[in-house]
């Protein structure tokens, strides 16, 4: 059965069940889980920023379990080589006396890849990962090896220990669909985490969704309808983060070094569509845009020193841009009930 023939509502139901399975394992971190699922539907990649021990690995493993996907985890270190990541060609001897070269795939050949502490690897290794993320294939000795579909990289960064790290180049950060900030759990969540983690049995997500359903959802997400005004708003928001534009909000012009480009607007729109689909709607809305605004754009807006000095974050500038874009949608006061 092709993905076109699978009833999309059944796929959405399947994803909802997978979400429930993940929630059985992970306490809290709802936003991170939802955004990871949306990124999966958008075939995007996620950069997760948070201190160690917040369940980042568990989120990815549970997602893989629930969706019946192959999972791999790569701990990035300064001495990690690109071949450690993508694989290498090795000399092998067959059954006869023939000696040949055999490609040994690296850990990147998985559906869900957790690139832990990506900023600890050298730029060369980072570049290899980011190239694979973008092209969804690996080329070794002139031969291309396609990566499995679906393919999602969840890279983590530790914001505390920056010494000895190689911060990701701004151009490469742009390749991540979302940047998710994982926060510390609250007291109630902490109690529930203790209950679950200190027991005799370890909770594990059950596989409830087939790979084909996921691929069908990925296709369906792109077919969700976005009305022209939604597209215009997404474009306005992205452009409104660019400091060189005269119609950008004042704070953007003052504090931003550069803003989101076309890739940011694409991420915004696609993620909004995926969110609408997961919400069992076939049309994206402004609420969808609002929900994914910060994770989709916060890593695409760079601030200048003045902003850093004054405690202005990219979130502030994105909020300004969104407010300006929403204001452009306002109706004439004559037909606005609230005057």
């Amino acid at each position: 059965m092709s993905s076109e023939e699978i009833p999309i509502t059944a796929c959405v139901d399947g994803m909802a069940r997978a979400r429930e399975e993940i929630a059985k394992v992970i306490v809290g971190q709802d936003e991170a889980i939802d955004l990871a699922i949306i990124a999966l539907l958008c075939e995007g990649h996620v950069l997760i920023e948070g201190v160690p021990g917040l369940g980042k690995t568990l989120i990815v493993r549970s997602l893989a379990d629930a969706l019946m996907l192959r999972f791999s985890r790569i701990q990035f270190t300064p001495d990690l080589m690109p071949s450690d990541l993508v694989g290498a060609t090795m000399i092998s001897q067959g059954e006869g006396s023939d000696i040949g070269l055999r490609f040994e795939p690296g850990p990147i050949f998985a559906n869900l890849v957790l690139a832990d502490e990506i900023n600890r690897a050298s730029p060369k290794t980072q570049s290899a990962l980011l190239q694979a993320m973008q092209e969804r294939e690996v080329t070794i000795r002139g031969r291309s090896y396609p990566l499995p579909r679906p393919f999602l990289v969840l890279a983590t960064q530790n914001p505390l220990e920056m010494e000895g790290t190689y911060p990701l180049p701004e151009a490469q950060i742009d390749r991540f669909l979302f940047k998710i900030i994982v926060g510390q759990p609250g007291q109630d969540e902490m109690v529930r985490i203790l209950e679950r983690s200190s027991g005799a049995s370890e909770a594990r997500a059950q596989s409830v969704m087939r790979e084909a359903d996921l691929v069908a959802l990925q296709r369906a997400a792109r077919e969700v309808v976005a009305a022209p005004f939604i597209l215009e708003t997404a474009a306005r928001i992205a452009l409104g983060t660019q400091p060189e534009r005269p119609d950008s909000p004042a704070r953007v012009r003052r504090y931003a070094r550069y803003g989101a480009g076309p890739r940011g607007a694409q991420a915004l729109m696609l993620a909004a569509k995926a969110r609408a689909l997961l919400d069992r709607r076939f049309n994206a809305t402004l609420a969808d845009l609002d929900a994914i605004l910060l994770p989709a754009l916060r890593h695409r807006v760079a601030l200048n020193f003045e902003a850093q000095g004054e405690g202005i974050g990219p979130e502030d500038l994105i909020a300004d841009s969104a407010a300006a874009a929403r204001a452009a949608l306002d109706f004439d006061p004559a037909i606005t009930a609230r005057e």
């Binding site: 969700v224 022209p228 076939f282 004559a334 037909i335 005057e339």
Partner: protein, 421 residues
Amino acid sequence: MLDGMRRSIGRSRSRLNALIATHRALAWAAPASLAAGLLAALLRALGFSLGAYALLACLTAAAAAAGALRSRKAFLDEAGAARWLDESLGECGLISAALDGLERGGEGRFDPAIAEAAEALLPRAARLRGPMGPLLRRAAIAAAALALGAYMVFLSAPLESSTAARRERGARAGTGAGQERRTAAKAVLEEGGPAAADFASSLFPDDRRMATLVERALREGRLDDLRELLKAAGLELDSKIARSIDELERKKLTKEKERLGEAAAELSMAAGDEASRGEAEGGRGAGGRGEAGPGAQGGLFAEGSGGAGDSRPGSEADAEQAEGGAAARGGKGYGAGSGSEGEWGRVETAASHERLELGAEEKGSFFELVLPGGSAAAPVSKLAPASRRAAEAAMTRESLPLEYEDFVRSYFLALSKGEKR
């Protein structure tokens, strides 16, 4: 399905655009009404004969039409109307998405499902009429502005009619009163007796003492004394006019003086003093400015005050200026400066920082009248402020010769410094 949806959205669009146009028309009409009302009232008050209410109505209507035309820029297109329906129905852009899908030919995977869902909303959408609150508020403001504009026009009407009526009444009254006085003057000189009392009372209705003196002079046929009395009254009025800082009061006093002058002239005419008549008229004509024309001595009331420089009490320098000013104007003047001499005799004044004193060396009829005790004294602190105000007002009106202004100013400044000391 497409037609039904398009029709429904189109109807909503028409209603909303009508609301926008009306709202904008009212928004433009309100200030235009006020401005038109003000303009019409102003033109009417200035005497332009035009249909003030028609002007108000035309300008308001023109502004409303301009506003409505201007509102075309804010008109909603089909997508805008669909978005408004979505927002009003709280349906998360379903109608917009359906319209978009249908415009694309409905070939999308989810287009039919969206169109079906949107179609179910159409009955609810058809019931939406657009918010009336903003429109009503705007209409109330516009109506109030129009009413205010009309009221301004209305107010300008009685002003115009009352001015004209007053002018007419004044003209009638002036002619009538003049005739009456002329007849009365003739009767007084011919008959004397009770007519003299009536004439004197009509000249000085508020001053019994003056009325008595005039009556007595008339009865006894002392025309010289009568002339002196009228001259003194005229001088007093001049003094009051010079001191007055209230424009209305000044006008009233000036009219009173004119009336006195007219009465004196009529009396002169009645007495057969034809030679002095023209001269008296000359003096009367310039009475408002307190200047006498040349040869104004012959009439009963042809005195001339000699200009503003004559009346100020002060130093020797004042006196010189006063005399100079009087001479320049050809009038006699009654200069109060030290050493100046009028026909009433020599007057001595002495001013210090504390007191101003006025006395007469020789007693005459004039000083019996104006200074019954023979002299007068008043604290400078009481006199100076009023005089200073009068001088300032005179300078403001440019009724003081330019060459005297510095002098007058420095004089009062010196007086103020003396007071402070």
